[in-house]
């Protein structure tokens, strides 16, 4: 990083004590705000009974693991976890793979119809879903995609792909074309350049789109519960939503389930974050 630090605002030298400290103060404060409401989720999950804690103390007084045991011991829990991982993982791959090629074309080729298609992707996100449920159900039924995890993946992809395409296109735009032009002159074809030159440079954006695509599928339950007629195909959020009754919610179990379902997200993010800070300017700077 050539001796110049962003921290000092000046030339050379070691950042001052204060310049090193204040970002931590802000980040600690932000982390407290982020964590504070979640402490109640943890408290509800660890306290006996099924009530959602309403008193201001965010720490549990009696600790019990019964809710976690009830969740992991429930019939079908591991099948649902597996389904969720399959559906979200597949949505992630479909989202990332399908949108990279599209985004690359949008970024690099000025082909006729490009503007229309790019706006079209945005339009798919605009129509409110409120009246789309029954037509979508009929469409999936006719296509034989009800009761199939593939159908669910395709439905989730309609949210994942447009965002991923736009996001990646924006990122590709920032990658200098000179690199590719050099490779073209050397006789490489477009695909080779795309895979060998552009994709490795776009790792941070790929990490963002991967996480986003995964999350589109991970917490959704209404479509999953409507399109699946077989308990063997239910996903975790469907099982979690079962704790919410018409009159009463089993908050203890719901909270425990909510914590369990957020663990894979954290793990995925932890795994992806080294790519988030790599990419074009990775040389010399470590995150």
């Amino acid at each position: 990083m050539g001796g110049v630090s962003q921290d000092t605002g000046g030339l050379g030298g070691k950042p001052s004590w204060w310049a090193q400290t204040w970002p931590h103060l802000i980040l600690i404060l932000a982390s407290i705000v982020a964590l504070y409401p979640i402490l109640w989720v943890v408290k509800t999950a660890l306290s006996p009974g099924q009530a959602l804690s309403a008193d201001p103390n965010p720490f549990p007084t009696d600790v019990t693991w019964e809710h976690f045991a009830a969740i992991t011991g429930a019939e079908g829990f591991w099948t649902q976890a597996k389904n969720s991982l399959i559906v979200s993982g597949a949505t992630m791959f479909v989202g990332v793979f399908f949108s990279t090629t599209a985004a690359y074309a949008f970024s690099r080729f000025r082909f006729p119809g490009r503007q229309v298609a790019l706006t079209g992707f945005l339009l798919t996100q605009i129509f409110p879903g409120v009246v789309m449920m029954i037509p979508l159900y009929i469409l999936l039924d006719v296509a034989g995609l009800l009761d199939s995890l593939l159908g669910l993946v395709l439905v989730y992809s309609t949210t994942a792909i447009p965002f991923s395409t736009w996001m990646l296109k924006g990122y590709f735009d920032t990658i200098p074309k000179e690199l590719e032009e050099a490779a073209l002159i050397d006789g490489a074809d477009r695909w080779t350049i795309f895979y060998r030159v552009v994709l490795p440079l776009a790792k941070p954006a790929l990490a963002v789109t991967a996480l986003f695509s995964f999350m589109t599928a991970w917490n959704e339950f209404i479509l999953a519960a409507t399109f699946m007629n077989d308990a063997e195909l239910f996903t975790l959020p469907v099982a979690l939503q079962r704790f919410v009754g018409e009159h009463q919610t089993e908050w203890g179990k719901f909270a425990a389930g909510a914590i369990l379902t957020s663990i894979p997200v954290m793990a995925l993010f932890y795994a992806l974050q080294k790519h988030l800070v790599g990419g074009l300017t990775a040389g010399g700077v470590k995150g």
């Binding site: 050539g2 962003q6 090193q20 932000a30 705000v33 982020a34 409401p37 979640i38 009974g49 009530a51 959602l52 309403a54 965010p58 599209a102 080729f109 006729p112 119809g113 298609a117 706006t119 079209g120 339009l123 798919t124 605009i126 129509f127 409110p128 409120v130 009246v131 449920m133 037509p135 159900y137 469409l139 034989g144 792909i161 447009p162 965002f163 736009w166 996001m167 990122y171 920032t174 941070p204 996480l211 917490n219 339950f221 519960a225 959020p237 979690l240 939503q241 079962r242 919410v244 009754g245 009159h247 089993e250 719901f254 909270a255 379902t261 954290m266 993010f269 974050q273 988030l276 790599g278």
Partner: protein, 743 residues
């Protein structure tokens, strides 16, 4: 290759035959029971399979929230269950729309098997026709269990429960002096209020003693005044939620609770308690009459071979038999509707069950006609107004009656579809001509090859996205021109649009008018997206500092709000904004300030919604910004630093312009998503006060799901939202293009 396979799959899929109802194959039963109730049902079904009948049965448990919409999607397509268990409230609508089948009482064990009042709610007449101008009511479901509220009380605080409301008030004064809430219940919900409403002589559909009916009646007003008095004397806590009721009762801060049998699971171990029927209203001498709801077994209305229907009937007969009812009562602790089951000692000796059985004598069976579904919204509105202290009983009654008339929308007159068909055909032809002209122009310019290459690269993404969006979208758009009632669709042309744009029964600047809601929606979108980007970008820049330690820890902690399902965290935020027990007012009071009644005021309620949504949404934007920041070459900062640029100048002239290409898509889509994201508003402020914090899409959902399934009207709302966002996106895409050649 993937492209070819995908197209192939779609082509094959389209010609796949529709599912046929088979004669054989196991019976399918859908329900949404949990815990002990589910276990009892499963045991019953297992015993049925083993019995001489010997029919295999598959049982599927579905989340309560998804069950109705799943049934409505699946039954007409032949994918539904043979038998399902549901509350009786939809009998009126579903019997008319053909989702359920009329039962032959003899086939399910005879009407004498059940308590008479549990059958009343399950009867409905088919719509009148020329052949049968005055159809007789028929039975549409077999009652399994009944539910109502009753009075729970702590025996360490109260020796004998109050028999009249006067006794209740006297007892209240005594308890209040000891700093204990006499009564805790969801006073702002009409379901709970109904007991007082009927106790004071209020009626919903029949004329009362003065010939009035509905919310305008004297009984209704008197019941509202009674609740206002409870609130004024602080005999009931403020802003009550289910969680608060349980917490107050368990912590000995509330002596009595009005709640249903589901409350049993929330009472903590070691709390001494008992149940009694609700008191008699002293002013009228009538008992407080809570709603009686029925959980019934229904047989799907989908065309099915007679043998299969007969097997479904035998399953229903089995489930309602005394022996199986006793099982549900003993193991599932349900209040069974089968009379003879109560001869069982186990049920009779169960004090909880016996108390609810006693309460049954003074309940009001909840009406099952579709109009019942228009009662909740005005009722809740009146109670919330009242409990905020905005009005008295008479004012609440006026507000409720007004809302009731606004949502009881008469069906618009049928109109001829011909002009619309011609117009649509014209538009379609124009579109085809436009595409054709475009293709010809591309050919002439010799860009055909380039176009083909471009479209080949985007094809996989395009095909996947558009097929699943375009078809439902077109259907949704077409529905906006139809009115839906009980499964029938009538073409009404532009009537819905006219109603919405003329603000219907509301003033233009009143909540729920299209224009007011639009204003709130635009504000909601702008504030949220601005906060998401500002907080996300700021944290991302901090996290991007090269020498910062502990980065991975911060990053993982800061994404937590995105990772945890928002259904629970949104409700926790709502709890934090609670007037009496919320952490936020706790902090304000700690600083020596007064607590704020967050949800009584549009501004503060909006603030609470925004706080929650900003908290939920900033991690996503932070991750996007973290990724986008990597696209800025570090040497640019060095160059800027060499030139003596300050931190702000570097941000303004290096970071921001270079971040634009990667940030614009996230902002554009963030705006679209936030515009249509109503669930946070729904969970946190629930539109309070008086729907003034509701956004446009909330209305669409209400018309579609809460107000008599007016899908056509909801579709018109959706279409208008689409047009608004379309106009906005065309303008902003153009602006972005002109400004910096981003696109």
């Amino acid at each position: 290759m993937t492209r070819v396979l995908l197209l192939l799959a779609l082509v094959v899929g389209v010609w796949a035959p529709e599912a046929q109802a088979e004669t054989d194959g196991p019976l399918v039963l859908w329900h949404s029971y949990r815990g002990a109730e589910e276990a009892a049902l499963k045991a019953s079904v297992a015993a049925f399979i083993e019995s001489a009948d010997g029919t295999p049965v598959e049982v599927l448990a579905i989340p309560n929230e998804a069950l109705a919409s799943k049934l409505q999607s699946a039954i007409p397509r032949g994918n539904g269950p043979d038998v399902f268990i549901f509350a009786h409230e939809r009998v009126g609508g579903w019997s008319a729309s053909g989702h359920i089948r009329a039962l032959n009482p003899e086939a399910i064990g005879g009407e004498d098997r059940f308590f008479a009042e549990t059958l009343a709610s399950l009867r409905a007449a088919r719509p009148a026709s020329d052949a049968v101008p005055d159809p007789a009511p028929e039975l549409w479901g077999a009652p399994l269990n009944f539910k109502s509220t009753a009075l729970f009380y702590r025996t360490d605080l109260i020796e004998t429960p109050p028999a009249t409301t006067d006794e209740l008030l006297a007892l209240g004064a005594e308890l209040k002096a000891r700093d204990i809430y006499p009564l805790a219940y969801m006073a702002q919900s009409f379901y709970f209020h109904a007991a007082w409403y009927f106790g004071y002589g209020g009626t919903l559909f029949e004329p009362d003693a003065q010939g009035q009916q509905g919310f305008a009646g004297q009984g209704a007003i008197a019941s509202f005044d009674f609740v206002a008095e409870l609130q004024r004397q602080a005999f009931v806590p403020e802003e009550v939620t289910g969680a608060l009721v349980a917490s107050l009762f368990n912590n000995k801060k509330a002596a009595m609770v009005i709640n249903g049998p589901w409350f049993l699971g929330e009472i903590a171990d070691g709390v001494p308690w008992a149940i009694a029927p609700l008191p008699t209203v002293s002013a009228t001498g009538l008992p407080a009459r809570p709603f009686l709801t029925i959980e019934a077994a229904f047989i799907s209305g989908y065309e099915s071979p007679p043998e299969r229907v007969a097997r479904s009937e035998s399953l229903v007969r089995w489930l309602t038999s005394p022996a199986e009812a006793i099982r549900r009562g003993r193991d599932g602790r349900q209040l069974v509707a089968t009379q003879d089951a109560w001869l069982d000692e186990g049920l009779n000796n169960d004090k909880v069950l016996a108390a609810f059985l006693a309460q049954r004598a003074t309940t009001k069976p909840m009406d099952s006609r579709p109009e019942m579904r228009l009662v909740w919204e005005p009722g809740d509105l009146a109670l919330r107004k009242l409990l905020r202290g905005d009005t008295d009983g008479a004012g609440a009654s006026v507000a409720a009656a007004r809302r009731h008339s606004a949502i009881s929308r008469p069906q618009p007159a049928e109109s001829s579809p011909l002009p619309f068909i011609i117009l649509a055909a014209g538009l379609l032809l124009g579109l085809i001509a436009l595409i054709f002209r475009g293709i010809v122009a591309v050919r002439r310019r010799g860009e055909g090859k380039l176009a083909l290459m471009g479209w080949r690269w985007i094809a996989p993404a395009m095909v996947t996205t558009t097929i699943l969006v375009v078809v439902p979208f077109v259907v949704g758009l077409v529905l906006a021109f139809f009115a839906h009632k009980d499964g029938d669709w009538t073409f009404v042309g532009l009537a819905h649009f006219g109603d919405i744009l003329s603000a219907g029964d509301y003033d233009v600047f009143e909540p729920l008018s299209f224009y007011y809601a639009l204003l709130i929606t635009v504000l909601w979108t702008a504030v949220n997206v601005a906060l998401h980007v500002a907080i996300g970008l700021f944290l991302a820049i901090l996290l991007n500092r090269p020498l910062l330690r502990l980065k991975p820890v911060y990053r993982v902690l800061l994404i937590l709000p995105w990772a945890v399902p928002n259904y629970i965290t949104a409700l926790i935020w709502k709890g934090m904004f609670h007037k009496q027990y919320g952490a936020i007012n706790g902090m304000l009071e700690g600083l020596g300030l007064d607590g704020i009644s967050w949800f009584s005021n549009t501004g503060t309620a909006f603030f609470a919604n925004v706080c929650t949504n900003a908290w939920l949404g900033f991690p996503f934007m932070m991750v996007v910004c973290l990724g986008a920041l990597q696209s800025i070459p570090k040497d640019l900062y060095q160059a800027a630093a060499v030139d003596g640029a300050s931190g702000w100048q570097r941000f303004r002239h290096v970071t921001l312009p270079l971040l634009r290409p990667a940030l614009v898509p996230a902002v554009l889509l963030g705006i679209v998503w936030t515009f249509n994201q109503f669930n946070i508003v729904y969970l946190v402020s629930a539109g309070e006060p008086d729907n003034s914090t509701d956004i446009l899409i909330s209305e669409a959902y209400r018309w579609a799901f809460a107000r008599q399934d007016q899908f056509g009207y909801a579709a018109a709302y959706a279409a208008l939202i689409f047009v608004l966002l379309l106009g906005w996106s065309v303008i902003s895409v153009r602006a972005a293009k002109r400004a910096e050649e981003v696109l």
